[in-house]
């Protein structure tokens, strides 16, 4: 299960190094290249990693939907592992989104947290995927667990779409909208132009690459874990 071609391993190593380099460049752009925003000051710089990490969670949770459908169609265990890896990495990125949002909100909204529509929906999203991890570990039958995880991974994506859409349809949200229309009058918005736009796109690309790298490593880790489990069972049965 864990016999990978050297070529694939080399690609993974290359992409991993690229992700580290991109991250260092992104941090340089965020902190030194782009200037502070007029009204928000330095706190606005959080926006680059905040949005980047949300993209990471979006990619991961989106890939979980793909994995879910693929598993239900093929019953191939690899798709289950792919889905699990994506949920775990997506949860990490969603946690970054939430906490960086809180550190931005404190100076701009004068509160760490408020139960407004976007913050509430992102909290629900995080809990929905945390429940995926907990619930799947509670099912002993592997086939049932994988089937459940596939269906849950597809259904849970509704919480992601809800999080994206809600600030565009609810008039009572105070969360800024970066792209697209909004019916609300958000607090803490700013125009994404010039260096801010360039830095944002670079960060989005960087976080996308980091997401792929982390998921890839997590898949390999899960494959190794399952191989060790299988070998343990074999050894114990022989004793």
């Amino acid at each position: 299960m864990t016999d990978y071609s050297p070529q694939r391993t080399k690609i993974l190593q290359g992409v991993t190094i690229a992700a580290v380099v991109l991250f260092i460049i992104a941090i340089y752009l965020d902190l030194f290249w782009v200037g502070p925003e007029k009204t928000q000051g330095e706190a606005q710089r959080i926006f680059y990693v905040h949005l980047g990490s949300f993209l990471g969670s979006f990619i991961s949770f989106g890939a979980t939907v793909w994995a879910g459908f693929a598993y239900l169609r093929t019953r191939n265990v690899s798709w289950d592992i792919f889905g699990l890896a994506n949920v775990e990495i997506g949860l990490g990125f969603a946690a970054i989104t939430i906490v960086t949002g809180m550190t931005w909100a404190r100076p701009i909204w004068n509160t760490w947290w408020t139960w407004e529509p976007r913050l509430t929906s992102v909290a629900i999203m995080w809990l929905a995927y945390a429940a995926y991890i907990m619930l799947r570990s509670g099912i002993e039958d592997p086939e049932r667990r994988r089937r459940f995880a596939a269906v849950y991974g597809i259904v849970a994506f509704a919480s992601v779409l809800f999080t994206i859409i809600i600030i565009r349809v609810r008039p009572d949200t105070i969360h800024p909208v970066v792209a697209g229309p909004t019916q609300a009058d958000p607090e803490g918005g700013f125009s994404v132009t010039g260096r801010i736009r360039d830095t944002l796109f670079f960060n989005l690309f960087t976080f996308a690459v980091i997401t792929v790298v982390l998921v890839w490593h997590r898949i390999r880790l899960e494959n190794l874990s399952q191989q060790v489990q299988w070998r343990k069972i074999q050894v114990l049965s022989e004793l």
Binding site: Q40, A43, R45, A95, I96
Partner: protein, 56 residues
């Protein structure tokens, strides 16, 4: 150049948290790899002992 202007402490907190979470994810995977590597070595050792026992 960065001059530690308004709200720099919150910005630093945001980036520190990002580094902490990303580092945490990497560290967790690294530690799991190490534990699994050790378990594999242990299984190899048990299998070798089993083989030796059968040969005798």
């Amino acid at each position: 150049m960065f001059d530690f202007g308004d709200n720099a402490d919150y910005m630093a907190m945001g980036y520190a948290v990002t580094g902490l979470f990303l580092g945490g994810m990497v560290l967790w995977m690294y530690l799991r790899y190490r534990v699994l590597g050790r378990e594999q070595d242990l299984i190899d050792q048990i299998e070798a002992e089993e083989r030796d026992g059968k040969n005798k």
